[in-house]
Amino acid sequence: MSAPEAIASPKPLVLVVEDEPHVRRFLRVSLPSHGYRVVEAASAEEGIRMTEEHVPDVVLLDLGLPDRDGLEVARQIRSWSSVPIIVLSARGQEPQKVEALDAGADDYLTKPFGFNELLARLRVALRHSASRGSDAAPADIFASGPLRVDLGARRVFAGAQEVHLTPVEYKLLTALVRQAGRVVTHRQLLEAVWGPHTGQRTHYLRVYMTHLRHKLEPDPVRPRLFLTEAGVGYRLQTLDDAFE
């Protein structure tokens, strides 16, 4: 246990809950040089205990833990803490990822994941928890690459051009902006835009997302902003990591 620090901004603490020693090693070795402190847990039980004890700033949770279902762990941690949880899972496990996300996890990484991807996810997670925790007023303007959204005036710009969005399109966009940089599941988006009990209307989402891409992306077929997370949901990329 580290001594409480009175310094203004201590390095963020990442708790790695992963049974595979090599993955833990790779994280333990590479994250510190990017400004993170790392603690490790090798099982679900240990992970939950260490979350209580160390109060990390971010938890990296492997869904394939030997002793307990990762989904349960996420749920349990979420029940008493708002710490960002990023789940690690293999390809082909999309339904499990979605379950974890709907149960309270904030984002996911598919193994094998790239290091840059990991760093991006960590940044996004920390930024969201910081803004939630702070007393500052919510940001008025969102910008990412050519996209500018003036939330106060309800105006959207792609580059210099203002773009007209239908009410539904705007609602969808703002749902993504609120979670900018993080994945939002189909269900979460449907609920945000169309209300509860619309979980089955995924095709609405898909079609509207296609419309958004056409209106706001320079090359709709090679989107840089509105990424499709196949089988899981969508992610609005924060290209400049800027939130004014």
């Binding site: 999309e94 009410p167 095709h203 609405y204 079609v207 709709p220 090679r222 989107p223 196949a230």
Partner: protein, 502 residues
């Protein structure tokens, strides 16, 4: 009865001669009687026809040789006439009889041959043991009137009754014991009157036993006349059974061999294709760890990139293998949803990431949104596999073209390159598991990508085809059913706007 006919013929001959007496000489009358004898021999048995011959002589003597109405002869020359006539009559009668006998024998032989032929024909098309047994029983029953049963030895040497006449009871202990004995000895036996057991012997030993049970209360189980035929039938049955059993064995061996082939092809592909990138990774890592190697930062980076790229390749290979295994075992669930094709194209392109970075990928999609009912992850995999192939098999500067359109209620998607194309005549072969061209082998493909594509398309009720382009290179065409439910986007849009505002 027949003698009565003989007498009638004699009476007719006599009557005829009497009425034509003024016109005919003795010679003529003798001829008429001989004609009667001929007719009698054609129709009647040996005895009656000989009786007709002798009777003809007596009648001729009595009625037409002086002194009339006596058996005396006036002259010795009449004795010669009688002698010759009797000889001729007897000979004709005898010969006729022989002819009839031979005709009967020939007929029987022909019937026997016809039966054997019919049975052979039936056996020729039958491949199942129970069919063959039924045919044999049917014919033997017809021939002998006995009830028949066929016992066949299975793989474990157990004798099971494979067929029997409908009215037969299940075999008794004693019966089973006798069947076993006959089977082991390979010798026929009978239990003293009611039953006969004939072994069914093939080219490699006994196969079973043919049992015949007399139905009546007396007589031979197998009538003597049918003896040879029945034994021939039993022998044929044995051969047919042997053929059927060997065919079954061969089929099983074929399946086993096929499974073995697939398994070893998979193992060898996996072994080679996993080891190659692993070798690169191991070698590169060791080089980097080696303190004596003097590397510039740039060289270091390059080696590390190798590790990263080879690991990515390994990752794709493992994905392919897992997908293939899942598809083959039926474990893969196809979860169809209405998707805009564009979205799937976008996610495939982004999944390939750096691989496509340096390539000129041209996407041509229609302006109106194409909705397809597909499992988005699976279709994405198809496009990823096709694009990966295009990158691998075409020169770095050549363009890769992806296009889509609607045609006759179906959505057509094509991925085309300007590489060497597909060897002529192998356009269908490319979709087989582990199929690789020589270029492919060199380029490090597994031969699984297209097989997976085909399986996924099939699971969606679509198709995939390969062709060579006129301008050079290969084109892969996917056909997917157009999603009718989403086609009316206007209605969907209205509905969704309503729901959103409520």
């Amino acid at each position: 009865m027949e003698y009565g006919w003989a007498v009638a013929i004699l009476a007719a001959s006599t009557g005829l001669c009497w009425w034509t007496r003024p016109l005919l000489t003795l010679a003529d009358q003798a001829m008429l009687y001989l004609l009667g004898v001929l007719i009698a021999s054609v129709r009647l048995g040996r005895g009656p026809s000989f009786f007709a011959a002798a009777g003809s002589v007596a009648a001729l003597d009595f009625f037409f040789v002086p002194p009339f109405f006596t058996f005396d002869v006036a002259h010795v020359r009449y004795l010669v006439t009688f002698g010759v006539m009797l000889a001729v009559g007897a000979t004709v009668s005898h010969l006729m009889h022989r002819i009839r006998e031979q005709a009967e024998t020939a007929r029987l032989r022909e019937a026997r041959t016809a039966t054997l032929y019919a049975v052979s024909q039936q056996f020729a098309v039958q491949t199942q043991v129970d069919e063959i047994a039924a045919t044999a029983i049917h014919h033997v029953e017809n021939l002998t009137g006995a009830a028949a049963a066929v016992f066949v030895a299975d793989a474990g040497g157990e004798l099971r009754r494979q067929g029997s006449t409908e009215t037969m009871q299940p075999p008794s202990e004693g019966e089973r014991a006798e069947v076993r004995r006959v089977f082991e000895r390979g010798e026929p036996s009978d239990d003293g009157g009611d039953r006969i057991f004939l072994p069914l012997v093939g080219t490699r030993g006994a196969l079973g036993v043919f049992e015949l049970t007399r139905r009546g209360s007396s007589g031979a189980v197998i009538p003597a006349a049918q003896g040879q035929l029945v034994r021939t039938l039993v022998a044929q049955t044995a051969l047919a059974l042997e053929r059927a059993m060997l065919a079954e064995q061969a089929a099983r061996a074929d399946i086993t061999a096929e499974m073995e082939r697939t398994r070893s092809a998979l193992l060898s592909a996996v072994s080679h294709d996993l080891r190659t990138p692993l070798a690169a990774i191991t070698g590169t890592a060791e080089a980097l760890l080696d303190e004596h190697t003097d590397l510039s930062t740039a060289a270091r980076s390059e080696l590390l990139e190798t590790i990263r790229d080879e690991a990515a390749r390994l990752s794709r290979l493992v994905s392919n293998l897992l997908d293939l295994t899942r598809l083959e075992s039926g474990a893969l669930q196809v979860r169809k949803e209405t998707c805009p094709l564009e979205e799937i194209v976008a996610s495939s392109l982004s999944r390939l990431g750096t691989l496509l970075e340096k390539r000129d990928v041209r996407v041509d999609l229609p302006d109106e949104m194409l909705l397809v009912a597909v499992d988005p992850l699976l279709l994405e995999q198809v496009l990823v596999n096709l694009l990966e192939n295009a990158v691998r098999y075409s020169p770095a500067e050549s363009p890769i073209e992806l296009a889509a359109g609607v045609h006759g209620g179906e959505v057509l998607v094509s991925v085309a390159d300007r590489g060497p194309g597909i060897p002529i005549g192998e356009e269908k072969l490319v979709f087989e598991k582990f199929y690789r061209t020589d270029d492919g082998r060199r380029a490090g493909g597994t031969g699984l990508g297209l097989a997976i594509c085909r399986a996924i398309l099939a699971a969606h009720g679509g198709r995939i085809e390969a062709e060579n382009r006129a301008e050079g290179g290969a084109r892969f065409l996917l056909t997917l059913p157009l999603d009718a439910s989403g086609a009316d986007w206007a209605a969907v849009r209205e509905e969704s706007e309503e729901e959103a505002s409520s």
